[in-house]
């Protein structure tokens, strides 16, 4: 008897060494996915530079991003003392780009996290319980989705004339519908699976089923959507700020740095090109990371 048990234990150990969990597979795949790693590194670099923007401006560049200098406006790239030149008010462009990154990235990440928290909770609860609450939330989602979101955003932005903090709330108040729908759909399909039925049969509470049994299964779709959402939100924020309804100057964001761009065409084309390029690189990295996570967690992918 003891011998058999020992035998089984050894067998189990052996299987574990050969087989690996979904997470181990995913991490192994991610480690070999060079493009995703490159995107992660680039994003990390941009984020670090942005977070350290005040320090870099002070210690390395010796400039103040909001100090205007009318005598030195529209300096080209490589001008002495201003690595990336100066803008229409003579402010140091590099320092402003870094400070803007802080706001743009911050808004994107915060709004996406808030969106995800709302969407995940609401989606799991409505998908799991169904019924009147589900119908009501669904009606709100359909209504919100029928308004062209740009106009809704414009109206809300005009109401609040937002600071970065309120802009996060505004973006989340519009953005939660997509992920809620996604999570709700997934929850409905998980609800009737055997492992949920078995959890219920051993007396697990609704709360436990939702948060311990269903949520971990949503990880990969949520992670993918999160990465792509951050990218989309950065795009939306930049568009809103470009139209003058987002974050107001002198606080710089990559979007509002472009709001006077049409007047820079002849004097300082780099002022048009650089902020947009940073948006493109950031969003591209996030999309690539999203794709990478999807591939890493896809059980159908063999690599």
């Amino acid at each position: 008897m003891t011998a058999t048990t020992a035998q089984t234990a050894v067998d189990l150990k052996a299987t574990r060494a050969v087989g690996e969990s979904l997470w181990q597979t995913a991490l192994r795949r991610l480690r070999r996915d060079r493009l995703t790693l490159l995107a992660m590194a680039t994003l990390l670099l941009l984020a670090t530079l942005s977070v350290l923007a005040p320090l870099i401006s002070d210690v390395v560049l010796h400039v103040d991003p909001n100090r205007t200098d009318i005598a030195n406006k529209f300096l080209p790239i490589g001008a002495p003392g201003h690595l990336l030149g100066t803008d229409d008010l003579g402010r140091d462009h590099l320092s402003r780009l870094l400070h803007a990154g802080q706001i743009s990235l911050g808004i994107g990440f915060a709004a996406a996290l808030l969106t995800m928290t709302i969407g995940l909770t609401l989606g799991v609860v409505t998908g799991y319980y169904g019924g009147a609450v589900d119908d009501f939330v669904n009606w709100i989602i359909t209504t919100l989705d029928s308004i062209p979101s740009l106009f809704l955003l414009l109206i809300i932005a005009a109401v609040l004339s937002p600071s970065p903090g309120t802009l996060v709330l505004v973006l989340a108040s519009i953005g939660w519908t997509g992920i809620t729908r996604l999570v709700r759909g997934e929850t409905i399909s998980l609800r009737s699976r055997e492992f949920i039925i078995s959890a219920r049969s051993v007396g697990a509470s609704h709360w436990r089923i939702m948060f311990i049994h269903i949520m971990p299964n949503l990880f990969s779709i949520v992670a993918v959507t999160l990465a792509i959402n951050i990218g989309n939100l950065i795009l939306i924020e930049s568009g809103l700020s470009f139209l003058g309804l987002g974050v107001k100057p002198p606080t710089a964001t990559w979007g509002n740095m472009l709001s006077n761009a049409q007047t820079f065409f002849t004097k300082g084309p780099h002022l048009v090109i650089l902020p947009g390029l940073l948006i493109v690189i950031t969003v591209l990295c996030l999309y690539v990371i999203g794709d990478g996570i999807r591939d890493a967690f896809d059980p159908a992918m063999k690599r």
């Binding site: 009606w139 359909t142 209504t143 989705d145 029928s146 308004i147 062209p148 740009l150 106009f151 809704l152 414009l154 109206i155 809300i156 005009a158 109401v159 004339s161 990218g231 795009l235 930049s238 568009g239 470009f242 139209l243 003058g244 309804l245 979007g255 472009l258 761009a261 049409q262 065409f265 002849t266 084309p269 048009v272 090109i273 902020p275 947009g276 948006i279 493109v280 969003v283 591209l284 999309y287 690539v288 794709d291």
Partner: protein, 359 residues
Amino acid sequence: MIKYTLRRLIQAIPTVFGITILSYLLMTAAPGGPVRALTAGDPRITAQQREQMAIRMGLNDPWPVQYLRWLLGDDWMRWDADGDGVADHAFLIPLDADGDGVPEPPGDRLGVIRGDFGRSYYARRPVLDVITERIPATLELGAAALLLSLTLGVPIGIIAAVRRGGGFDNFTRVMSVIFNAVPVFWLGLILILVFGSWLGLLPMGSRCEPTLTGDCPPIYGRLNYLLLPTVVLATGGVAAYSRYMRTSMLDVIGQDYIRMAYAKGLRARQVWFVHAARNALIPLATFLGPAITGLLGGAAITETIFSWPGLGRLGVASVVQQDYPVVMAVVIMTALATVLGYLLSDILYAWIDPRIRFD
């Protein structure tokens, strides 16, 4: 089918109601208000005069009353029962709102329900006129962009699918991701910078040369003005349609009847474009409805960059000026277009593919 369409239309009514209430509530909550936007920078107007203006425009009423006035009109809120031209009865709103001892004139608004969209605060003309004169420009740009995105997107998708994994497939896949990551307004700015400012080949914005009458010549006389905004508006569509078409085409290519077509000796080109592509186009029809809507709403930023005198730019400007009646009209139009767009694509789908049946 008729029953299904009717049911969908009836279901849309509460949705459109919800949209109007929400938009109105949000808009009236905005600080400042239309009066300040209208009189901004005019030092001759006193605070008292502003207050009078707001009262006369009904802007000091509680928002539900304002909403009702917009929806149902105000000829039942303050009216003249004895026919002497002076209002003598009032409901929901005071008879003499500004407190000068003389009753305000009787209400003359009919409300949106009866086809009266009100007057633009800013243009001082009926909203319907302001809106309808903008529609041709938006349709022109939208149709051009849709045409361009389909004529580029569909063939790209087909070729990428039949040469799956090849150089063209990989190249277009990368390009579509890149173009999704480019902010529309920045792409517009760069194109204007390169083609308008540096090369001087194309105009930097607007719909045509300024004319004395304000009208534009026929479309073939100003294609140079149309080119850049069309390209900018179409990029998203090209990226999306080529991906959808590729997926759809790959589905079809794996089917038995395609193998059959090869087996009976048809040339590859004929199989792809005649047998496969026609069926692969079916799922694309579902995107057509929302696409039409998207071109209406999504054009706002493109129209703003290129100073294109369309609905989207009007909407953006009206939000900034707090011109409530115009904003509401634009919101309603785009919301209706969205609802109808989705309905249209469902019906199209059933019409093209006889296997799909409703009810």
